[in-house]
Symmetry: C2
């Protein structure tokens, strides 16, 4: 029994958060928050998944190092600069943790650190140093929304969510904030997500849960096929709910994973729907597959296709492009078995049966594809497995935003 609750990343007992403006990027709007902190009042089991890009931002290496012992107390994160591919980036990522420690009476090793924004320019570490005591003193149980705002780059909406559920009679809370809009492609946590829970769970189990759930949620989002060098998902569990600690892959573990899946799925869909310049959330659901892997690969290729994405922008039921994208996915399937339909709140229209096009109501199809959330439903008619991936349309605004992001 899972309930959505308020409070975001502070919903779980013992977690506070804050977001302030410290001026990392001098020419950003004076209202843009750019420094976030999340802190637990107790030590947490900690787990993280990291970008697979060979070019990794310095905060990734620093966080890997700090979380190696499986414990942490908090997260510090800035937007406006990715602290990647520039001199002093490693030193500056370490310095961020040190400043956070000084401002909170903890150790530098107690913090995960994440930066997102421009690549290749040295970060304004003075601004962060000055801002750190301010963000620490702003920490509150009502700070989730400001933290969510402070980690945004080209995002247009804040991403936060929390749920509660029960384990052995104890109420457990699990909350998160995330960011992600451009440079998003499924292959590990290609975004920033900070997840907190008061569940008692070992860091090994937390790591397994995060890895399993990320693979089916964050890794199934694509905005533009780009894997960012700085992105990660971090989970902190402080055990304050008082449940019997999860140490095995038992029923409690499964319950915890279901809650984590709910939270990460929500964030993933928010991220896809808020893709850079996106007008709609595009889901590709592949059913009737011989394996979940091939269903996922097909769905991911479809939502990654520039031509499919442009057709979705135009609300054009160009199903041929979907089939073609499936064709180059390298996943096995028989084109002559494929059924396809487009679905949304406005209805459903079957456009292809056993690989051949059908005559269909173009006006209805246009109406269906003009909704904010649309589904490309593909049935391979070959097995029982399925997968769903999320993306967005390719719009003029994506080109505008990325044609002149840096300068």
């Amino acid at each position: 029994m899972l309930n959505e609750i308020s409070g975001g990343v502070c919903a779980a007992q013992g977690f506070k958060a804050a977001g302030i403006r410290c001026g990392v990027q001098a020419d950003a709007s004076p209202d843009k928050l750019d420094l976030a902190m999340i802190l637990s009042e107790r030590e947490c089991a900690a787990a993280a998944v990291y970008t697979l890009n060979r070019v990794k931002a310095a905060p990734i290496y620093v966080t890997m190092d700090h979380l190696e012992n499986g414990v942490a107390w908090g997260v510090v994160s800035n937007s406006g600069n990715a602290n990647a591919c520039c001199p002093m980036s490693h030193e500056n990522a370490e310095a961020m943790c040190l400043f956070a420690a000084q401002a909170t009476g903890r150790e530098a090793e107690d913090f995960a650190v994440a930066s997102s924004g421009i690549i290749g320019q040295t970060i304004n570490i003075q601004a962060i140093q000055t801002g750190m005591p301010k963000v620490a003193s702003a920490l509150s149980a009502a700070g989730s929304t400001d933290a969510a705002a402070a980690i945004m780059t080209t995002d247009t909406v804040k991403k936060e969510i929390a749920v509660s559920f029960e384990l052995g009679g104890k109420e457990i809370r699990l909350g998160a904030v995330a960011k992600g809009s451009g440079m998003i492609h499924p292959n590990m946590g290609t975004l920033l997500a900070f997840i907190t829970t008061d569940c008692a769970i070992t860091h090994e189990m937390l790591e397994d849960a995060l890895r399993e759930v990320s693979a089916k949620t964050f890794n199934r989002v694509t905005i533009d096929g780009e894997t960012s060098p700085g992105d990660m998902a971090v989970a902190l569990a402080n055990g304050m709910a008082g449940n019997e600690q999860i140490e095995w892959k038992d029923e409690d573990y499964n319950t915890f994973c279901a809650a984590l899946d709910y939270v990460c799925r929500h964030l993933s869909r928010s991220i896809a729907g808020d893709g850079e310049g996106a007008g709609r959330l595009v889901t590709c659901r592949v059913t009737g597959a011989r394996s979940e892997e091939s269903a996922e690969r097909l769905a991911k290729t479809v939502v990654s296709s520039a031509l499919v994405k442009a057709a979705m922008f135009g609300a054009d039921a160009n199903w041929g492009r979907v089939l073609v994208a499936m064709g180059y996915s390298k996943a096995p399937f028989r084109p002559e078995h494929v059924d396809m339909s487009f679905e949304s709140a406005a209805g459903s229209v079957l456009v292809c049966k056993q690989g051949d096009g059908l005559a269909f109501d173009e006006a209805l199809a246009k109406q269906i594809l003009s909704e904010k959330e649309v589904v490309i439903a593909v049935n391979l008619n070959e097995g029982e497995d399925e997968a769903e991936c999320w993306g967005c349309d390719l719009t003029y605004d994506y080109v505008r935003i990325n044609g002149d992001y840096r300068t």
Copy 2:
């Protein structure tokens, strides 16, 4: 000694071509030519390379069948409809060859057939049947340009070229027409290219030459990462130049390959520069690599990146995106060894040295990237191998063209 000559696909002795309007796509402009024929007056050694997309258009299968014996006389090709993923597509592709045979006094099996355009709608075979005698009677040695025009879809410029060279004192001519603008991504002939030569060469040697050269030319073009189901490159060699037949990989073979490479490289760059909505030709040249394969993979990933392409549209020297794209290419390299510069007719600017950003003249960089042809030059500083791939920028027009292509 290679000379560029006029005549395109008819430059070689014994080849004629034509392009006419038969009305495959009723609502196209009345000026749009849509049916092309290329015919040799003698039997040709024939070779082809085909799309690797699992979803293949019917003409691919028919051409594979017709060229299996290694000989052919000509090519028939229409634009406006891809003859893919629709009922009767196989029968209609066979019918096109039959009509071509009837109009020229040959056999259906003597023809390669290729269609490009809309996927999933049954082709107007009556229009093609009516048009076939017309295109056959229009065949002429001056017909290359019309044939090039008739195979265009969203292309904005015709692609044709011819060269001459000598083998054993005989002048050999080699010419081609091609099309390709959207749904272009390196993995086999993801475009249409028809190449003719009067060189005497066995079909085995012709096939090897075409395969080797395609891998280094057509397969290094990307417009949008999409591999089309209908694309192919066909080479016809009628032997009329009277040179001693090329039967081995000897010096003559190498001379022939160099000429073929010149022609295919020219077509590849034309296709990249004429990408759907493209404003400029973007070349990524990776040098200092430990293998040509890794250099190619890196260069291909860079020119495929939506974020790099959008930056090129904005003439924004956002080199961080180049490094990030290299990072997710799965090719091995050390980011900390990488030097990078942007180059064009307007000059050259070094932006990154040993993986770290340099302060550089932004105004000069903008000027360099505002040219019609720009080069992203990456030195891995790890070996002697190199490769070059070609793409284009991502523009509002790409989105416009593909947001409403079908309807």
